[in-house]
Symmetry: D2
Subunit: 337 residues, 4 copies
């Protein structure tokens, strides 16, 4: 076995902690450095996983010269700057989505990202979920024939707090963006976006001018119709379903249960254990597989994770959805997106 | 037991035959007269169910004076005229959907229908499906809390032939119209219709200028979002699913299987018997319950079947969907629709 | 269409009423005569279905000379006598199970039954359940390969009352006998019966010296192992499951739900509508198909319903199970049974 | 965090390798020594997990003095001797089941095991399966009321080879023993064992005088009836199901699927991904949790894994089942077993 990949991590919030645990325990990687202005939290994470170096100063971590790759899980506004630094220093980087909420900032970085000689990967973790990956393999292998319809139901257990909402860029850029990436996995050439949304249940979200409920319809260059049903809350837990329908049949990913025990009683039958209560649990394997794939890619020289262009394309779809939801028109997008 | 309701039936095609069988075998009804210009077919049906009177002449049947109610299952262009005749003669009538493909013809009849002293019912059979009715009861009883999203997947096993397509009025007026009625059952006040559609697999349907694939999004006056996913074909049989989602949970109607045997083998696990291959089988109970409800309503004086205004409202939604699909804009509709 | 089969019915209790409804409404049969010493109940049934003749006197009904077939749904002790009368008069008879609780009485009738020129059918209705029949077809068509194990779970919603229990002959002769018949449908040559039983929950059943809980294991001549799990109560409704397992796979019949709506909420997920609360509802189609098959058989001259020997064989298995449960030994039975 | 538990492992065969991987990667344990006469295999395992010490000599490993606990995954005949050595040296030991195939050898060790001051744990991994553990919690919490019936279906994907069969002690001691342990988890006081078995499909197993198919019925002191259905093969993969039934309802563990994608096509509907093909995959989490529980127990001083008496009790049930299967009688066992 070759020596493990030394990883530096920006950010130790909820998603950063997930990456820390994976970097520290995956065979083939070590978590070597952590950077977070919230030093206390960073130090706790470091201690838990035996990470030797902790700093609040990005420059200190990036210039240490002993990292093989960087994971960026710090707040969205820092992403563009950190990606740029990594490219400049020749450091492979896996950055959480979105690259930025403003497509102009993304586009300013685009040339440099294209020219980068080291990998820039974007954290669309769901592609690495074993079930979604299996469904995608089934479809690519012709299991449903020619793909005609893709239908996604994606609901969060609970809406985020007002502060998060205010900085989120809206439901399409913050939440649906994951579904846009999955849509592009199955239908790479999207030509049109139509979205209808509502302020259905959350006064806080409405106060922020955002939507809590939405349906987005995408059209593909081959006549495919993608339907995405979103809600910011779900009483029965994380609701994540996917159906690919083609001329030979369909393949479906039902909602996952952590346990499969079913109960039957006088008050009702076939009750089951609850669904997952957060993406951290539901997509635990996906996050782990994402980082493993990235590490393997860095070692082999061929990173197959979603890249900068995937991050940009999903944001373009989110922008178009936002415009469509506001104006009530179908919005054409570049098929290259 | 009171004497049974004597029913006269117009039309003995596929759907007419379903009504004939039900009228002849339901307790409380007898099929007394059949009218169809295809006399041979009408006579066969009459012989099978012991119907004493058969004619090709509508006037003969309507003026016989021995009918308690009329079922109209003849071609769509005849509906308006026959409904009008029934109203004029004081005959309760259950007419297959749609009333007419042209909203102007429907509107010409509207005043008379409103003023009618005898019931005018429209054949939206799905409301009488035991599972859909149960789901609706669950929602009305607060089972999902406040309704926020309704999601319908509705796919036919096979597209109809070119002649049928040519006269059908298009996918929205012919097929989605059933889903519009179900949408209205759950969300009576629809304010906006958006539809995106595709010519995805059928050259014949494309040649007719019609769509074979569509997603329609409705918005309700209370912020509800209804999503309808349609396809004119489905390799695995009749696909009819429905999900009502609210702030307290969801209720779902999965696709029905005629039998529940499941098979497990080396080539795969949990294979099941096939789905229904036609609406006649899938909705057999619904058609029977629809006619039973109508007959009971005629007897009691209170028909609770969907009425003329329901037929008109569903057609308005279909017209709006057609416009939206063509123009790429969200189309506002009168909430009273 | 030929003239309908005129049926005479003995008994208008719970199961008798089911047969009355079917005989009165099936195409091809009419319920012509009813006999029950409980004349009031018999008259109500007759009025409901327009049956012209009612009597409390079996002789009057049997000698009327205008019946084409007889259904016996009177109490078990009357079965042998009525079957004998029907044979003597050349009347095809469908008799509810069991023929008698005492195998000696059954055997006294055996020669006459064998020599009968008119059909003697025994009411093992479950063979006619569409799902069980489909499972059986699957197995016969080789769908599971060579059959090795058959596993039946069969639980009643609630135990019968003390009077019924006292006259029932015990759980094996009264309840498991249905499962024995299904076992014989799949594994005709049974060579050994082992049963372990318990007085687990019902003091009333224990007081009667009977069991409320049992597992019976049958061995077939070909090495097949049949396992039957029984309980006299079930909090979540009628529990009827069946699995055929062979060297190429398995086919399973899960418990049937009247409706397939599923509910999801904060308190739990995937709750469903309740199971059936009685055999009358669960096996409604089976009873109807059973009588239709019998009527068709009488008309065509070839009755394919289970016959006298099937009734006797199931009773022999029940006797052996009773002995095994009492003595704690495996009991050999004649493979011809 | 305290220093990790240094583990020594006997045996690096299939099950030993599972323990090696877990001991090496669990937080809180390190795999410090490996002992296997198959030195080549042992060295490969050691290299893969960075284990510093490898030997073919048990004495060398046990006397090294730097181990905190021992895992025994060597062949069954070595178990008793190694457990004894561990007890003598005050080393906590987790030994794979069975303790021995001969109850006399187990009983010879019994006194010493009872008197041991360090823990002796037996590797009944299934108790640690998240789903089985959840089902058990449900039952203990009263989820099914008073437990009346426990029904287990347990089928291996493929029979082991002739050499394994010859040394296995027969289906009850080798395979059903896991089900006996689960039975005891739910019904601690078993009073009687009845087993019927068959040589149904495997000439090799029949030649060894063993059975390939069996149903075992246990009776509990409280009137519970446990039914265990076993087969040595299963065309559709590892089949592991469990149902606890009580007076208030039931809880069921259905067969687990690695992935939940379902496919629908013209040839059939609702096909799914295959079941697990081996216990190593099906119970991967269980093995990991088992070792984690043991390590935690060693650290805390309170090992809650199944112990020596559990290992002995399961073997007694297996012996009784073997006798019952051979003699055709119900065999009483000591309730303390």
């Amino acid at each position: 076995m070759t020596s493990p990949l030394r990883i530096g991590l920006f950010g130790t919030g909820r998603i950063g902690f997930v990456h820390a645990a994976n970097a520290a325990t995956l065979p083939g990687t070590v978590l070597h450095r952590i950077c977070d202005p919230a030093l206390e939290r960073a130090r706790e994470t470091a201690q838990q996983y035996g990470v030797p170096h902790v700093t609040a100063d990005p420059e200190e971590m990036l210039s240490a010269g002993d990292l093989d790759a960087v994971v960026v899980a710090s707040p969205t506004p820092t992403h563009v700057g950190l990606i740029e630094e990594c490219i400049d220093r020749g450091l492979p980087v896996l950055c959480e989505k979105p690259i930025h909420l403003d497509i102009r900032r993304v586009d300013e970085l685009r040339e440099k990202a294209r020219a980068a000689t080291t990998p820039v990967a974007i954290g669309f973790n769901r592609r690495f979920d074993p079930s979604i990956a299996d469904l995608h393999r089934t479809v690519r292998a012709g299991g449903v024939g020619r793909l005609e319809q893709l239908t996604i139901v994606s609901r969060d257990p609970e809406p985020p707090g007002p502060e998060y909402i205010a900085a989120s860029g809206g439901i399409f850029r913050d939440m649906t963006i994951h579904d846009f990436d999955i849509a592009r996995l199955f239908v790479p050439e999207i030509v049109e976006v139509t979205a209808r949304a509502a302020q259905s249940f959350s006064p806080e979200i409405a106060a922020a001018g955002d939507f809590d409920t939405a349906t987005t319809v995408l059209r593909g260059a081959g006549g495919e119709v993608v339907t995405i049903v979103n809600s910011r809350h779900c009483a029965y837990g994380y609701d994540q379903r996917l159906e690919a329908f083609g001329d030979a049949g369909a393949a479906r990913l039902e909602n996952l249960l952590p346990l499969t025990t079913r109960s039957f009683g006088a008050g009702g039958v076939e009750g089951t254990t609850p669904y997952y209560s957060s993406f951290v649990d539901r997509y635990a394997e996906a996050y782990r597989a994402e980082l493993a794939e990235f590490a393997e890619g860095v070692r082999s020289g061929t990173v197959r994770n979603p890249g900068f262009e995937d991050g940009r394309a999903a944001l373009l779809l989110a922008d178009a959805a936002q415009e469509s939801a506001e104006r009530g028109v179908a919005v054409a997008v570049e098929p290259s997106a």
